[in-house]
Structure formats: C-alpha cells, structure tokens
C-alpha cells in the first residue's frame, strides 16, 4: 500500500515536472546549448565566438509578431546597456516562412535594417534551437551566464510587465534578473510567463 502511494507520489511529481517544463524546455538552472546560425550579414555565428562575453540575452523573436515589434526598441536598449557589461543580445528568428512569409531571411535583413539592430539577428531555419531551448512564443527571453565552458540558464520569460506601453512598465523582470546575475546574487524572479505569438512550426497551419 505504502509503495502504491510512493509510486503514485513519484508519478504525480514527474507529471507536475513535465507539466511545468513541456518537452524538456530550458528552465532556470538548465545547461544551454551553443549553436551555429546564419546572421543577417551572411556569416555564421556561435555563442563561443564571443570570447569576452559573460553571458547572453538570447531572444526568440520574429519580424511580424506585434509583441515582438512592441519590444524591439526595448531589446535594442537592453543590448546597448548590457553588452557593455558583458551581456549582449542574440536575437533568433525560428518561424517557418511558409506560415509567416514576413519572417523569411530576407524579411529579417529588411527589419534589422529598418530598426538598425545593434545586435546579431540569426536565422534558425531548421527550428532546432527553438525546440532545444523550448521556446514557444515571440518574444521569449533566455538569460544565459557563462560558467567556464558551460552556459547556465538564469532567467526564462518576459522582458517586463507591459508589452503595450513601455512607459507604464512597473516590473522589469529581465533587467532585474540581469542586475542580480551581474551582482553575483541569486535571481529573485527567475521565470515569468507572457502572452505572445506562437512560434510558427513547420508542418502546422
């Protein structure tokens, strides 16, 4: 009987764990993988190329999504502030262009030019990186910290608490996490959720 309860408990726990991190999506504490993806300038980029970086603000984003657009200026500001402190933005578009034509590689080049992105904007054409990280929507942020050769996930989620109006933001979730990581503190809020456009996966509508 006890065994039944114990196994039921384990089953329940594993279910809850699965429910919280679908498909093994990265959560705070996960080790993140590096990648090699094509930047808008045609060059291949890996996180290991950034010898001096202390970590990265990896953002899954795209060209067409209103939430991504609403956050573009804030992502640029984040890069300008934090790349100097060792945490550059690395933007990745994983959307399937047959579902979202604006999110093609050419569309990325165009959008980056329009907005003068100061950071790299990489094309995850195979969608492998979005799948590995467990990104589900745009924008979806991952704060990574270098730990020797490893990359540790320190924060996953939203940029702040108001996508519509930057001037009405009261909680800067990502910046707070960045400041805490830079100060060597534990991240108080290391995971948040946000409404966003779904990542447009190949083979779906």
């Amino acid at each position: 009987m006890k065994t039944t309860f114990a196994s039921l408990g384990i089953l329940l726990c594993s279910f809850l764990f699965i429910a919280a991190t679908p498909d093994g999506a990265y959560a705070p504490g996960s080790k993140a993988t590096d990648f090699k993806l094509k930047n808008i300038d045609g060059k291949m980029v890996s996180l290991s190329d950034y010898k001096d970086a202390k970590g990265f603000i990896v953002t899954f984003t795209c060209n067409h999504c209103p939430f991504s657009k609403a956050y573009e200026d804030r992502i640029i500001a984040l890069h300008n502030k934090y790349s100097k402190l060792g945490y550059p933005v690395v933007a990745i578009n994983s959307n399937d262009k047959s579902i979202a034509p604006d999110d093609s590689y050419e569309g990325m080049i165009e959008r980056a030019k329009e907005k003068s992105f100061p950071f790299v904007y990489l094309y995850d054409e195979s969608q492998e990186i979005a799948k590995t990280y467990g990104a589900t929507r745009t924008p979806h942020m991952y704060l990574l910290k270098k730990d020797g050769k490893n990359l540790e996930v320190k924060y996953v989620g939203a940029i702040d608490d108001n996508s519509d109006d930057a001037s009405a933001v009261t909680k800067k979730y990502l910046e707070n996490a960045l400041d805490e990581v830079i100060e060597g503190k534990e991240v108080t809020t290391n995971s948040t959720k946000a409404i966003g456009c779904t990542i447009k996966w190949k083979g779906t509508k």
Partner: protein, 167 residues
C-alpha cells in the same frame, strides 16, 4: 448558490447581446477569474485570442458556430481578446463588426501577463490561441488551435455528456 453567481456574471455580460455586434467590453482579470471559478450546469467555453493572431482568427468561426448551435441550450462562449488596449477602437471593434461576431467579446486589459497566466492554467505557456472549457466540477485547458469545428464540438460534447451523467 452557483446558479446565482452564474446569473450574476452572465447578466453582467448580457448588455452585449442586445447591442450592436461591435460592442466589446474591457475587463480586468477578476472577470475572467469569476468565469473560471464557475461550476455551471452547462459548459462555459472561454477562448483567448487576438486579431493579429493568425491561428486564432482561423479557428474563430468554429467558436462562432458553437455559439450559434449551443447558446439556446445554455452553453456560453466567451471570446477573450488580448489585443492591445490602444487598438480597441482602431482594430478590435472594427474586426468584431466586420466578422459579425455574435459571441461575447471581452478585451482583457491586464498587461502584467505573468500575474494571471498561471491562474488560467499552470500548464499554459502564454501562447495563443488557448481555450478553457468549464463545466460542473471540471475544467479542461487547451493550448492549441482546433483544427476543425467537429474537434471543438466534440470537446464540448464530452463536457455535456458528463454533466448529463452526473445529473
């Protein structure tokens, strides 16, 4: 007791049914929370969507059809828009009017998404479309797009059947 709460909430939504289809009521999360905590005799279907969300717009006709076919039997369809508040007049209302939406349309103006997404369902990542079906003692959550009217209707029917069994 549950009946009273249901009547209270539904009657607060009622003015929408008698005015032009382009009426959209702006609400805070407590309105949605009340709906989520109902234990209604007939299911309440809540869909989270936005005009800019392509898969949401694709499945929208299924919810409209559900409303048309089941509202007489007491099923409630509530379409919760996550459009930006600043686009209520310029985008959401014209969209609702153009598509002759007959279901209730609410604009959820609650920008700190992180404060309420888990209260809808802890498994929800925040991607839309997402749908909740609530009936007596049962809540079912879907983070996906329904591929057909039949698929949505079957999900509703399962709730109706279990309600009939328990009565």
């Amino acid at each position: 007791m549950n009946h009273r709460i249901l009547i209270f909430i539904l009657s607060s939504l009622l003015p929408l049914s008698f005015t032009s289809s382009a009426q959209v009521r702006e609400v805070k999360f407590n309105t949605i929370d009340s709906l989520l905590h109902l234990s209604p005799d007939m299911p309440v279907v809540i869909n989270f969507w936005a005009t800019w969300c392509k898969p949401c717009v694709q499945e929208l006709p299924y919810f409209e059809e559900l409303h048309k076919n089941y509202s007489a039997s007491g099923v409630k369809v509530v379409m919760v828009s996550l459009d930006f508040k600043r686009e209520l007049e310029s985008r959401l209302k014209p969209f609702v009017q153009k598509n002759n939406m007959a279901s209730e349309v609410l604009l959820l103006n609650e920008p700190d998404y992180n404060s309420w997404i888990n209260r809808v369902d802890s498994s929800w990542s925040g991607a839309i479309p997402a749908t909740v079906i609530i009936s007596k003692g049962k809540k079912e959550f879907f983070e996906k797009e329904f591929s057909s009217y039949a698929e949505l209707e079957n999900s509703l029917k399962l709730h109706i059947h279990s309600l009939k069994k328990s009565n």
